[in-house]
Symmetry: C2
Subunit: 150 residues, 2 copies
DNA sequence: AAAGTTTATAATGAATATATAATGAAAATA
DNA sequence: TATTTTCATTATATATTCATTATAAACTTT
């Protein structure tokens, strides 16, 4: 229905792949680096593969590789792929979700709120996430090298 | 964790009360009119009462009444009262929600998205919802009286 | 052929959401 | 005072979803 861990894992996996372009990484290794349950990740990767974003090669030396440039994938797209159509309330879901068949007075408010949410996610590309991941790491490494006084 | 039916029921109940100012309506009657599970509503009303928005009077002729003007209650407040602090992802929840202790690159994106969502809900008062409820009803009634040709 | 790996599906346990039921307490009326 | 009506509170049951593990199958390389 909305943003579950599964989506976070998917994004984390894509980020890891984005950090190492054109490299095949086994799902087990991705799971280790990104702290994702190793048995859970394969299903997620399969979904990403069905969308054409990643390619998996089986067998020894195989692994997963990013096919699509990170700037062409938005967080919104990932979430919607993993969760299915996002709906912050039952009211916005298919069929009998809305008690009054789309005429309930809350309908438009939920829709507006959801659109605001999705807009933020849609304006954020995987590239942005990869970059801020890098920034965080640089910062952490600098801190290690030159710790500030406390 | 986020917007469940419970919140919708709460808002619906408040709307019903807002439609009939200064009138005591039994929870059973509210449930009937707004299509809310009748046994579920009392718990919800109790929560609304603890916040001081409604008053319940027991005994024959008793019922529930709105104490606070609808323009002074926002949808956001209702949702947060019913659901507790809203968090669209585990990452934004208390304590160990974020896998990387608040430093994960997704953190700020979730936060932005959530803030966008909450802003819409915070900008909508119960008055707005009551009004659009009225508008919908007027429209439906006009349609009944003077049906358009099809 | 053997080992490692992805892909796909199924099964399970845990948590949460939803709802019902039971009980208790207060107020009004007869 | 007894009875009815109603809110308030708590306990219980059910259903759904989430998260994970487990299993099986297909594929690739060595």
């Amino acid at each position: 229905m909305e943003v579950t861990k599964k989506s976070e894992y998917a994004i984390s996996a894509l980020v890891e792949l984005g950090l190492h372009p054109d490299e095949y990484i086994s799902s087990k290794e991705i799971a280790r680096r990104q702290n994702i349950p190793p048995n859970f990740l394969p299903q997620i990767i399969a979904t990403l593969g069905s969308r054409g974003w990643v390619e998996g090669v089986r067998g020894p030396g195989g692994g997963v590789k990013l096919l699509t440039p990170p700037e062409r994938i938005t967080v919104r797209e990932v979430v919607e792929l993993i969760e299915g159509p996002v709906a912050i309330t039952r009211c916005l879901m298919r069929e009998g979700g809305c008690s009054q068949l789309g005429r309930c007075p809350l309908h438009s408010i939920w829709a507006q709120a959801q659109e605001a949410l999705l807009k933020v996610l849609g304006d954020t590309t995987l590239r942005n996430v990869v970059d801020s991941h890098n920034a965080l790491h640089r910062q952490a490494n600098a801190e290690l090298a030159y710790p500030r006084a406390r």
